[in-house]
């Protein structure tokens, strides 16, 4: 079994898929660069991302698998699961060999099922981030939020926030993956910063009213609770503890 690595990007992965067919390579495992590998380094090769190749694969797969299929492939990759490339490649191989089998609908196929599960996991995290992002207004009029999502969801939440907040500058930063997205009132751009792992915005960088609105929100949060119906288990199920750090109403 040979191992090919790619640069973590969607295009990089699609390039690798192209080359699997280009070199008629049957025994290959595609994985992300820089991840420790238990096997021997035999046959290790780095795939150089090539947007032409990636685009050809993309167009072909789109015809074969449709929008739903492309959506599942993208989400599965964003899961960053070690096995995700294996399952995606299995599905792609099946789709190319037997287009009439409609592999994406075959939930009895282990890889197709796995893709649908990855999609569900990542979709859930995307939805959580759309809910749990908490902006703080900084003195330079940027609404700033930090997140540490389980999966790499920044690329798929950008549209949601761009549609919603068009008249304010905002920045959402992934502290785990050290990059973020910034909206400058015109478009969304990716920003990369290397900080230590601490929260980055100190009190002195926020506008004065920020604390007042935060305290109003905490007050609202506790006032809207019905004590007679207390159900902490359900509460923690919906808002797992790992997200509390950045939630204004849960951390103070």
């Amino acid at each position: 079994m040979k191992t090919w690595t790619y640069d973590h990007s969607f295009e990089g992965f699609l390039t690798a898929v192209f080359e699997v067919y280009e070199y008629r390579e049957l025994q290959v495992r595609i994985r992300k660069e820089g991840i420790a590998m238990p096997e021997l380094f035999e046959g290790l090769r780095r795939v150089i991302t090539n947007s032409k190749k990636a685009d050809r694969v993309y167009q072909k797969l789109k015809v074969l698998l449709g929008d739903v299929g492309m959506h599942r492939i993208l989400y599965s990759l964003l899961s960053e699961d070690e096995e995700c490339e294996v399952h995606i490649l299995n599905v792609i191989r099946e789709a190319i060999a037997h287009p009439e089998h409609k592999i994406m609908q075959n939930f009895a196929d282990p890889s197709a099922l796995k893709l649908s599960q990855f999609t569900q996991m990542v979709g859930r995290e995307k939805h959580r981030m759309e809910a749990f992002v908490r902006f703080k207004l900084t003195c330079d009029e940027i609404y700033f939020a930090e997140i540490e999502p389980d999966f790499n969801v920044i690329p798929i939440i950008a549209k949601h926030f761009r549609d919603r907040y068009q008249d304010q500058k905002w920045l959402i930063f992934d502290n785990k993956r050290h990059y973020g997205i910034f909206y400058n009132l015109v478009q969304v751009e990716t920003v990369e910063m290397k900080f230590n792992n601490q929260q980055q915005v100190g009190m002195e960088m926020l506008v004065k009213d920020e604390y007042l609105y935060q305290s109003l929100w905490r007050n609202y949060f506790s006032s809207t609770n019905i004590k007679a119906r207390k159900n902490n288990r359900l509460h923690r199920q919906h808002v797992p503890k790992r997200y509390w750090k950045y939630l204004v109403e849960k951390s103070f």
Binding site: Q105, A108, L137, A145, R164, D167, N231
Partner: protein, 420 residues
């Protein structure tokens, strides 16, 4: 702004509004194509959850808790000795905008105690929505309460600025309303509801002809019923809900387990009474069966069985009463029949329909598809065999299933008083 005063008002007026359970922020189609603030398309978002496990999606407040009515079940009733407060229009607007910009909320849920009269109150609610839309270019979600007896002109304006309108029937029957809220009557509640329903139809028709037709309450109407304040049966509740779904095209009926707020009123359960959480849960399950699973109200309950079984969910209850339809052969059964198998939800039913085209479905497939296999296995025939024929014919199938599928939440929802 005087933040201390606002903080105090917010505590009072959020506390008073919390008994309204609706927190939905979905179903609207208001896009942000004005370069403004907010977007209310498609899916709702729960931004947080309170410690009682309920979703926090909207800033849910009363404009004021001054009220001319004295409804026995209500915490803001005139005769109750509590602190009263009122927001100004600008305060509500400012809170909404600032919470929304920080991504705390999906929008505003504005209700109010009734001061002076219906139109006077409704007019203020409408003014807030109008200000948010026109002056602040706000496209987030707005849910306004329709005040019973409000005039058609005001309801029309409300529909143009709000995404959802709702009016609470409060008690499932008119007799219950007479007993606990003698100053109110159902006709006053139905009149604005009926008006809004007709306007929604008119605007939808016009929209087909003219693309520029404005939206009118795009997320529809809803209502709320209080459960357990008066002695109605579940059958009466479900029938009321069913009627309102059909006649007024409601998007949702909410069921709110009565939380005792009054001491010494012989008409109401005592202060020590537990909130009927489990019963409420069963009613929601029944409601879902009617809306998404093709069940009719009188299939779920009938005069012989007027109350939902607290031990098993209503779908399992129906299956146990109608064993002649089982086992269902999942390889060939219609989607309607798949949906009737206890433990199979809407999504997994469609997954079965898709997956069975490719292969003979086996136990391991079904488990991975996400169905509640432990419950479903007694009711379905797969891989050309049915192992549970003896169980299906057994008189204690119900206890077998109940013991087999004990919920980890059982204690929590136990209708019995917890002593320790």
């Amino acid at each position: 702004m005087n933040f201390d005063r606002i903080n105090e008002k917010l505590a009072i007026l959020a506390d008073a509004a919390k008994y309204d359970v609706s927190c939905s922020s979905s179903g609207s189609k208001r896009k942000n194509d004005t370069k403004g603030l907010g977007n209310a398309t498609g899916m709702g978002i729960c931004h947080s959850y309170t410690e009682d496990g309920r979703c926090v999606s909207l800033l849910k407040i009363l404009l004021t808790n001054h009220c001319i009515y004295d409804c026995a079940y209500c915490v803001t009733r005139k005769s109750n000795d509590i602190k009263r407060a009122a927001f100004t229009i600008d305060e509500v607007v400012d809170l909404t905008i600032n919470f929304y910009r920080r991504n705390y909320i999906e929008g505003l849920f504005l209700s109010s105690g009734i001061f002076k009269n219906a139109d006077y109150t409704m007019e203020r609610l409408v003014r807030i929505a109008k200000k948010l839309r026109l002056e602040h270019n706000f496209n987030g979600y707005i849910h306004l309460k329709s005040i019973p007896g409000a005039s058609n002109e005001l309801m029309k304006e409300a529909g143009l600025y709000a995404d959802r309108l709702s009016i609470n029937l409060e008690l499932p029957t008119e007799e219950g309303l007479k007993l606990l809220a003698p100053e109110k009557n159902r006709a006053d509640m139905i009149q604005p509801m009926n008006y809004v329903k007709n306007e929604i139809i008119v605007y939808k028709e016009e929209k087909k002809l003219f693309k520029s037709t404005p939206k009118f309450a795009p997320a529809g109407q809803s209502t709320q019923l209080i459960i357990g304040a008066t002695p109605e049966s579940d059958l009466q509740i479900i029938k009321t809900a069913d009627t309102f779904y059909k006649e007024y095209n409601l998007k949702r009926v909410y069921y709110s387990g009565y939380i005792p707020v009054v001491a010494n009123d012989v008409r109401l359960p005592s202060l020590e009474t537990q909130v009927p959480v489990l019963r409420e849960n069963r009613l929601y399950q029944a409601d879902w069966l009617m809306r998404f699973y093709g069940f009719k109200a009188d299939e779920i309950l009938n005069t012989q069985n007027p109350n939902l079984d607290l031990e098993v969910d209503p779908k399992l209850g129906w299956a146990l009463r109608n064993l002649q339809f089982f086992p269902v052969n999942i390889q060939i059964a219609s989607i309607e029949m798949l949906l009737r198998i206890p433990g199979v939800g809407v999504k997994s039913a469609w997954k079965i329909v898709n997956a069975r085209k490719f292969t003979q479905l086996k136990e391991e497939h079904l488990k991975k598809l996400g169905i509640a296999f432990n419950r479903a296995k007694y009711f379905m025939f797969f891989n050309n065999q049915f192992k549970f024929i003896n169980h299906l014919n057994s008189s204690d199938l119900k206890s077998i299933i109940v013991n087999d599928t004990k919920s980890k939440f059982k204690d929590l929802y136990s209708p019995q008083l917890q002593l320790f």
